[in-house]
Amino acid sequence: MRAPFSTAIAIAVGLVVLLGYFLPIDSLRGVLVNWAVTLAGLAALVAILNLVGVHWRKLRTPKHPDLYSLVFLLAFLATFFVVAYLGPSDPQVQTIVTNIQIPVEATLLGIVAIILTLAALRLFSRRQGLMAWVFLVSVVFFLLLGSGILGFGSGLLPAGMVQFFQALPIAGSRGILLGMALGSLTAGLRILMGTDRPYSG
């Protein structure tokens, strides 16, 4: 058995947290969850350091130095030092995030909307068949239904039919949620039983 010690720790921590839902052992469970959240915060710091290191290597590439990496590094350092100096609750810091990050990300989502429309336009040029047609019809129908063009019970379609068609995505999503719950349960059980040991490297 490889890495039995780590496996035993993983199994023991998992069992303790699980039992914390059923047994009044919140203090022990809280300590373990607090360690997990701290380690997760450090993991975000490590991820930030890894991101800075990647762009630093791209900037130091002899032939083709990535200038975008240089921009990233400059923005990172400026934000880090400003937020570190001003604090996260400073309105100047809030303005920087609000005026830069929100429009950028919102623009990206707008482009996605255009790209998805164009992809739907070229759908049949790349893939043809029954499912393509089903997909096309579903997209068009639910776009119309979601847009409210068809109305929400007081429009072209009766309310019952609109509710029926609005409940169809809920049914599908519930099935997906049930599957995800079963998958999460199985993964937890595997880890608790030691069958799946992602921590062993």
């Binding site: 915060g41 609000t98 776009l143 997906i176």
Partner: protein
């Protein structure tokens, strides 16, 4: 009368009798007889032929001939043997057999070899056969008397002689001399150096050979009797046995030279032609006019046989048949005691009393003595006779000396000459010939060994020294002739007497033929014995002619069924008899003898077998020589490997060539009229160029089609395929820009134009009813925990969806504590609060931003389980706010909040919040869990709403617009409703247009079958 074949002297093949020319070579078969036969036929019917009449009429006028005959006759009268005298005295045979004999005698000139078997009836009774044998026996006996002293005559199988033997024949046997003493010449060899000096220059070879055989006995060491018995049929053997003649050692010694000669089957086969061939050859060589030759002949001394006639040889005993038998067994009296050395045998001149039948017989069988006169110009009848007697003459005259010219050559020359139309009349020739005979008459000295005669004989010796095989072979037969020739033929007698009327009227030819028929019929009866004898006679393996005999077609067999076997053997041997004269003469002594180991020994008669057993030492050499001849007999046969190397296609088949050659008749030149004599003319047609084989193929249509298909496939494989043209990026970019521009325009236009949309904002949305109720129930001093769990990109959607709710809460004085597990969440929360309040909210009274909760789902668990100040991640912020915000009590938990409002665009975050915090929140039964989600995450969270795990939920712009519509405070969501619908409609239009176009293109595009 059955049809018989006539052997062609040119090609040696048999032809039907009725043919005038050989069907194979075109040579005339009866050049001389053709006219003679036709002319002789009437004579045979009672009319005397002109030539014979003239002959008889002119014979007396010819003094030389008459003198000769007269001398002979006169001399013979004194020394005529008793047996001959008795023969002459016996008229009974003449009476009984006179018709036949005289017929034969009268028709002797027309007697031919070809007719001999032809006239022989197949079913002739034995007596006639015996008669035929008898006269031959008489001849044989006389011959034996002269020549057989050197032979060992063994008793032959008994022959029923007494059965059909006529009295005349019995008397003949009684009157025949048992033997004739012949002077021995020890220096004589097989080559027979003839005492030519004793022969007249004009004499024929047979006469010389006869004289040689008679006068020049061979040394005793020569094989003597090895072949003579072979050359004799049984009936002759019987005769010898019965004749009682027994050779003395001296006689054997004397006759030795003649013995080897008879051993040659080839010679035996051409006996009858040898002298004629020689005659013709010499005639052509000498180129002398007939008249001159006849004169010279007349001046020449008498031949030996005539000399012997003149000397009147007498047999030692002639006392009947028993006496003959006894005499045969008795040793023959030494030649020296009978005749002086160098003297020929004493010819027994027939007496005048010789019966006609005997004369006729003599005229038929002993005609050769008259050949010397015909050497220059032989009459047709004589030639025919010679041909006729050639084969039977083997038995009749085994002691005939060898002729210098090969038989084939002679025959060809003779017939060529005879074919000439300028041939003198037969009667005239005969007259001249007979006239030439007369000078022989006074040659008593020659007969007695006169030097002049010997000198004359020597003149012709060089040519005769070239003894042909035929002549050499005929020598034994001729050696036996002297006794028979001793009986002067009738024609000679007739010439002597010159009394045509003395003879019976010319017998019809038919009668003569019948006589011969009887004689010939008698021969087949002996076939049994003769056939057994013939192989032994040849003492050689099968001759080609013998092999051909059984292969004859039935038609051919019918044409010559009457050939007795001995004649057949002679016939076949004739075809193969053409060795060089010198070789032949030398080979004679080495003639193969019958050996006990020979495969043919079983067929040999007893006497011949005994002879074979007691063969001379030269038999081995003779066998070797025979083998050599055998090898030489087929020189044209190429070895098989040579045949295999010969180009098979280069020559026309020989049969065709042969046919073509035989069909060509020379039309000009000295060979005019001859057929097939120049085979070289057809050589052009014999060879042809080799066929040229080409390698050009001739494929079928299917093969051509397949080849074309294969070629096309190969060409297609090598042809470059054009790659599909790559589409340019321009249309895609244009389309993308167009779509983007259309969507942007659709979103801006409602905002600009204040477009309210295609439909009103919906009043109710799924899950929205509980949400509105829960929000509306919140009021002041309630605190709501707001979880800001969305990204900056969804901030616009989430802002429009949540602003109405937050403003509603803010309006009613509900305090809000903002928290987020997203790092950007606290900033977005501040931005959101700023929009709700239009300013930064008062943390102590309105809303406080608790900050970020690190650790994801773990932090939510910690938030739900621990007091707010113990929350690790939020401690910083919460501690800040909790320390300063009075509405958050220290050590409070989640259940102190009246509601948790989750603003999220991520279903995972919504699930985590719902699953981790709802249990802790439910500790306050009035607390509610509300969700504001994006349109994207709504379907995933609606189930929780439907399950009542959360109390209300709104999603997207529509949810915010609906909430605003419900609280009747239209806000930003209601303003964006028109832009939202138009934008969605444009997107739907683009997707629809694209789908329809592609669908039409797919429908209109011709389908390509898979695998085609």
């Amino acid at each position: 009368m059955a049809m018989a074949d006539i052997r062609c002297s040119m090609c040696g093949r048999n032809n039907p009798e009725d043919l005038q020319e050989c069907k194979f070579c075109g040579a005339r078969l009866k050049p001389m007889v053709a006219g003679g036969l036709e002319s002789a036929q009437p004579a045979a019917k009672g009319e005397e032929t002109d030539w014979l009449a003239s002959l008889r009429a002119e014979a007396p006028a010819d003094s030389s001939a008459s003198d000769l005959v007269g001398d002979l006759k006169g001399s013979d009268e004194e020394e005529i043997p008793d047996w001959l005298t008795r023969l002459g005295a016996l008229d009974r045979p003449q009476e009984e057999g006179a018709p036949a004999v005289q017929d034969g005698g009268a028709d002797t000139p027309t007697f031919s070899l070809g007719r001999l078997p032809e006239e022989k009836p197949s079913g002739k009774p034995e007596p006639s056969q015996d008669e035929g044998e008898d006269w031959l026996l008489s001849l044989r006996s006389s011959g034996i008397v002269e020549n057989e002293p050197t032979q060992k005559i063994h008793p032959a199988p008994d022959v029923p002689e007494e059965d059909g033997l006529p009295e005349w024949l019995s008397n003949l046997g009684e009157s025949e001399p048992p033997s004739i003493a012949i002077p021995a010449e020890p220096e004589k060899t097989g080559t027979s150096p003839l005492p030519e000096a004793n022969l007249p220059p004009g004499n024929t070879d047979w006469l010389r050979s006869f004289a040689a055989n008679v006068e020049q006995p061979e040394p005793a060491n020569q094989p003597q009797t090895s072949a003579e018995p072979a050359a004799l049929p049984d009936w002759l053997s019987d005769f010898k046995e019965n004749s009682g003649i027994e050779k003395t050692p001296a006689a054997e010694h004397q006759d030795e030279p003649a013995q080897p000669v008879i051993e040659h089957p080839e010679a035996e086969s051409v006996i009858g032609l040898d002298w004629l061939a020689e005659f013709s050859a010499e005639q052509s060589a000498d180129q002398k006019p007939d008249q001159e030759m006849m004169k010279e002949t007349a001046e020449e001394p008498l031949p030996d046989w005539l000399a012997s006639f003149s000397q009147g040889e007498r047999p030692p005993s002639a006392a009947g048949q028993e006496t003959l038998s006894t005499a045969v067994e008795q040793p023959v009296e030494p030649a020296d005691s009978v005749l002086p050395v160098g003297e020929t045998t004493k010819p027994v001149e027939p007496s005048e009393e010789t019966p006609d039948w005997l004369s006729a017989f003599q005229g038929m069988s002993e005609e050769p003595p008259a050949e010397p006169a015909t050497e220059e110009v032989a009459p047709d009848w004589l030639r025919e006779f010679q041909q006729a007697t050639a084969e039977p003459g083997e038995e009749e005259a085994p002691a005939t000396p060898p002729l210098p010219t090969p038989a084939g050559e002679v025959s060809e020359t003779a017939f060529e000459m005879l074919e000439g139309e300028e041939m003198p009349a037969q009667s005239d020739l005969l007259k001249e010939w007979l006239a030439g005979m007369t000078p022989v008459e006074p040659t008593e000295a020659f007969l007695a060994g006169h030097p002049a005669a010997e000198a004359a004989r020597a003149e012709s010796s060089p040519a005769r020294a070239e003894s042909s095989p035929a002549r050499a072979e005929s020598s034994p037969a001729r050696a036996e002739e002297p006794p028979s020739t001793g009986d002067l033929p009738d024609w000679l007698r007739d010439l002597q007497t010159s009394v045509p009327d003395e003879q019976a009227p010319a017998e019809p030819a038919g009668k003569a033929a019948s006589w011969l028929q009887e004689f010939q019929q008698a021969l087949p009866a002996e076939e049994g014995a003769v056939e057994a004898f013939v192989p032994g006679d040849t003492l050689e393996p099968e001759q080609p002619g013998e092999k051909e005999a059984p292969q004859r077609t039935p038609a051919e067999a019918e044409t010559q069924p009457e050939f007795p076997s001995w004649l057949a053997s002679l016939d076949t041997s004739t075809t193969t008899a053409a060795p060089s004269p010198a070789a032949f003469v030398e080979e004679e002594p080495t003639r193969p003898a019958v050996s006990s180991g020979s495969p043919f020994a079983v067929d040999l008669p007893d006497w011949l077998s005994q002879f074979g057993e007691s063969g001379s030492p030269g038999e081995g050499a003779a066998a070797g020589a025979a083998a050599t001849r055998e090898e030489g007999a087929a020189p044209a046969e190429l070895p098989s490997w040579v045949e295999a190397m010969r180009p098979a296609q280069s020559a026309v088949p020989g049969g065709l060539l042969g046919d073509l050659t035989e069909q060509i008749v020379e039309k000009a030149g000295p060979l005019a009229g001859l057929r097939g004599v120049l085979p070289g003319n057809t050589l052009v047609t014999e060879f042809r160029s080799l066929p040229v084989y080409t390698g050009k193929l001739t494929p079928t249509d299917r093969q051509v089609t397949n080849a074309n298909l294969l070629e096309e496939m190969l060409s297609q494989e090598t042809e470059p395929k054009a790659l599909p043209a790559r589409r340019t990026q321009a249309p895609a970019i244009i389309l993308r820009l167009a779509v983007g521009a259309a969507l942007i325009l659709a979103l801006l236009l409602p905002l600009i134009t204040n477009f309210k949309g295609f439909s009103p904002i919906p009043a109710v949305a799924p899950g929205s009813a509980g949400f509105v109720d829960a929000v509306t129930r919140l009021s002041t001093p309630a605190t709501v925990l707001v979880a800001v769990e969305f990204e900056a990109g969804f901030s616009d959607e989430m802002r429009l969806a949540s602003l109405g709710v937050l403003r509603s809460l803010a309006n009613r004085g509900v305090r809000m504590a903002l928290v987020s597990t997203n790092p950007a969440g606290p900033v977005l929360a501040n931005h959101l609060l700023a929009e709700v309040y239009g300013r930064p909210p008062d943390p102590m009274k309105e809303a406080v931003n608790l900050g970020y909760l690190p650790g994801g789902t773990g932090s939510l668990l910690e938030l739900a389980a621990l007091p707010l100040q113990n929350v690790s991640g939020a401690t910083f912020n919460v501690s800040i706010y909790t320390a300063t915000v009075p509405f958050i009590q220290p050590g409070s938990r989640l259940d102190q909040f009246a509601a948790i409002l989750l603003i999220t665009d991520n279903p995972e975050n919504g699930r985590a919040w719902i699953e981790q915090t709802v249990p802790a929140l439910k500790r306050n039964p009035n607390a509610s869990f509300l969700v504001i989600s994006s349109a994207q995450a709504a379907p995933m969270l609606l189930p929780y709403s439907e399950a009542k795990q959360i109390q209300g939920m709104i999603s997207g712009l529509s949810g915010g617009a609906m909430f605003e519509k419900q609280i009747q405070k239209p806000a930003d969501a209601a303003k964006s409703w028109g832009a939202y619908q138009l934008g969605m409609l444009v997107a739907i239009v683009f997707i629809g247009i694209g789908g329809v176009l592609r669908g039409l293109a797919t429908i209109l595009r011709p389908r390509v079958k898979k695998g085609g």
